[in-house]
């Protein structure tokens, strides 16, 4: 077969196609830049490198990291390591911070991660400046997000309440309600600007407009702007108007002169109540209410189960941790062993699996010794089968 000649025309045609492809590529990216270049902060080469990874891959990685962080949060501290946090709360958890930071590297648009991290840093881990820096990074990376208001609100929350969480520290953090107000205003503005884009499914019980106005009016009172606070209160929806602050503004609305803060109003009301002679009884409980304190919950459970006729009383006894604890603490270890042996000898039951029947003799597997045999029966059978097959193969299928 004869090789085809490359002509000048052919070369020019190929060059033309290449030029069209390159210009098309850049035109598409220039036209739809929003789609190709999201608002990602690129500070160093790491960020630049991350941009070259497919977004789906990064998102999946970030999701896995967040899941792991959530798992760590639920497990709690490592007992041997003496860590100062509890299971079930992000507060003070040091194990999750590295994971969440990595997740943010991969997916800087995940707003909730900023919220969790910033609150943890500012309130529990004594890293207030790091928290604010993180939120600012989040704001820069999510300027066109519908949930941007949540980041402003997180900053307002940190500035507004960090003092309450500080402990004995050489540099105690002070609340700065004036700065918090700036962030709250930004949150309100952002919420209103993106109101149509915020879906009903993304409604947040804390980060919503009603709460922002409640916080704003509270912070304005704290910096001594009572009447501006009252003006802000007018925007609070009726369902959010509860508590002492609502009473305070309600009195203002009626034209009654009120002190400078709701706390002072409370003191005033309390002082008036102290002055009155006839006071209602603080509790109105029925006679003999205290007897409920002495009801044994285990007895209650037994009674209920017998009534429902589902589980026998002896079965309930097996699940009752109080009974086990009582018997174990009452008997010394040696005596327990003696009793156990004796009990085995005199056992009247002739079945082996005590768990499956209504038998109170739980001696067979109570020590947790070789119960594993029952649990991995399939694996043992498989192992035995494999040994037999292996021997068979060696015996019958190998050349001698």
């Amino acid at each position: 077969m004869q090789a085809r000649k490359i002509t000048t025309l052919g070369i020019l045609l190929r060059l033309l196609l290449l030029a069209i492809a390159i210009s098309g590529q850049f035109s598409i990216k220039a036209r739809y830049w929003n789609q190709y270049y999201p608002e990602t902060v690129i500070i160093d080469y790491n960020d630049l490198l991350l941009q070259s990874l497919p977004a789906q891959l990064k998102s999946m990685g970030a999701g896995l990291l967040r899941l792991t962080a959530d798992e760590y949060m639920h497990i709690g501290p490592y007992k041997k390591a003496r860590q100062n946090f509890i299971a079930g709360s992000f507060g003070g958890n040091t194990e999750i911070m590295g994971l969440l930071k990595l997740a943010l590297y991969l997916e800087p648009s995940h707003i909730e991660t900023y919220e969790i991290m910033s609150q943890n840093l500012a309130m529990y881990l004594d890293r207030f400046e790091d928290a604010i820096r993180l939120i600012q990074q989040g704001i820069l990376a999510n300027r066109s997000s519908a949930d941007l208001h949540k980041l402003y609100a997180a900053a307002a929350y940190c500035y507004g309440f960090a003092e309450s969480y500080t402990y004995d520290s050489p540099r105690p953090i002070k609340n700065d309600r004036a700065i918090a107000l700036n962030y709250l205003d930004a949150a309100i503005k952002s919420y209103q600007a993106n109101f149509t884009r915020i879906g009903t499914d993304s409604y947040d019980v804390f980060a919503n407009l009603g709460n922002y106005y409640v916080l704003k009016s509270r912070f304005l009172i704290d910096i001594g702007k009572k009447y501006e606070a009252f003006a802000a209160w007018q925007n609070v929806p009726a369902e959010n108007r509860t508590g002492l602050i609502a009473t305070y503004f309600s009195l203002m609305e009626q034209g009654i002169e009120v002190p400078d803060s709701p706390e002072k109003l409370f003191e005033q009301i309390f002082a008036n109540q102290q002055a009155t002679k006839s006071r209602p009884a603080p509790y109105s409980l029925p006679d003999g209410w205290y007897q409920t304190l002495f009801i044994d919950p285990a007895e209650e459970l037994k009674a209920i189960s017998s009534r429902m006729n589902r589980v026998s009383a002896s079965k309930v006894e097996e699940f009752n941790p109080f009974v086990v604890a009582k018997t174990e603490s009452a008997q010394p270890a040696e005596q327990k062993h003696e009793d156990h042996d004796q009990h085995n000898e005199t056992s009247s039951c002739d079945h082996t699996d005590h768990a499956g029947q209504d038998c109170s003799q739980t001696h067979t597997n109570a020590a947790g010794g070789w119960t594993i045999f029952a649990e991995v029966r399939a694996a043992i059978m498989q192992a035995a089968l494999m040994i037999v097959c292996g021997l068979g193969i060696r015996r019958f299928f190998s050349r001698r």
């Binding site: 041997k80 194990e95 994971l99 991995v376 399939a378 694996a379 498989q382 060696r394």
Partner: protein
């Protein structure tokens, strides 16, 4: 088989294993893996982005995952390099003319990989154990136990790879090994799905595969380590017995296949 021939087989197998181990140690890929793994294992401090102190759980979890992944790489690439290149380069002739049987050759090659894995796991596991001891001030005995379980799992996978390598090409061996490894982790899930479908045929098929394929989910160490639950001795003993039985089965199959293969 007489006692003398058995002893001779064991000695031949041991010497093949020893030289396979030396061969693996001299391999540049192995050196590269170790050079990659040691800095990665020691890089636990990099995760502490806010200077919050040593993150025990994260380091343990990431360290064990890393060791497991590196072990998997070693298993896949080094097990493949044991039999197929010997056949392709015809070097197998020199060995099997002196070995009592091809089974001995195969068990020797398996022993070599087992030694390599033992060396790698000991090195990386000790490194992790020492880091945890130094930084957290406690003995984390879950780590050596997890390393032992991981080692058993790797042995099982090696035997499967060697069985496949004895009767097929490199690419087929690699793909089938990965498939068996993945499926072996989810046998219970497949059984459950088959039951949910309500099809007796599918359920029976799943049961059959559960008996034929190795159950890799038995070797899960993450829950044990994360929740600080020390494995029971009886469980470890049973797991070791199960692994040895499965290894024996797959190596017997592989040996029989190699025996019947025209080299």
């Amino acid at each position: 088989m007489t006692l003398g021939s058995f002893k001779s087989s064991i000695l031949t197998s041991a010497s093949i294993a020893y030289y396979s181990f030396l061969e693996a140690l001299r391999n540049r890929l192995f050196l590269g893996i170790i050079l990659l793994a040691i800095p990665l294992s020691s890089a636990a401090w990099l995760l502490d982005t806010y200077n919050l102190g040593f993150q025990v759980r994260l380091v343990t979890d990431a360290g064990l995952t890393l060791i497991s992944l590196i072990g998997l790489l070693v298993v896949l690439f080094f097990s493949l390099d044991q039999i197929i290149p010997d056949i392709e380069r015809r070097t197998i002739y020199f060995v099997i003319t002196r070995a009592p049987s091809r089974h001995v050759y195969m068990s020797g090659r398996f022993g070599g990989i087992a030694l390599t894995l033992l060396f790698l796991n000991t090195l990386l596991g000790t490194l992790l154990f020492v880091i945890l001891r130094m930084q957290a001030g406690a003995w984390f005995f879950e780590v050596p136990v997890a390393m032992f379980i991981m080692f058993l799992k790797q042995l099982l996978l090696v035997s499967i790879v060697m069985m496949l390598a004895a009767c097929s090409t490199k690419i087929v061996t690699l793909s089938l090994s990965v498939l068996i490894y993945v499926v072996g982790h989810g046998l219970d899930i497949f059984r459950m799905l088959a039951e949910r479908k309500g099809s007796a045929l599918l359920a029976s098929l799943a049961d059959f595969f559960i008996f034929v394929l190795p159950d890799f989910s038995l070797y899960e160490t993450r829950v044990m380590v994360m929740h600080e639950l020390l494995a029971r001795g009886s469980a470890l003993a049973l797991l070791a017995v199960y692994t040895m039985a499965a290894v024996f089965f797959y190596l017997s199959l592989g040996g029989a296949a190699l025996d019947r293969r025209d080299l």
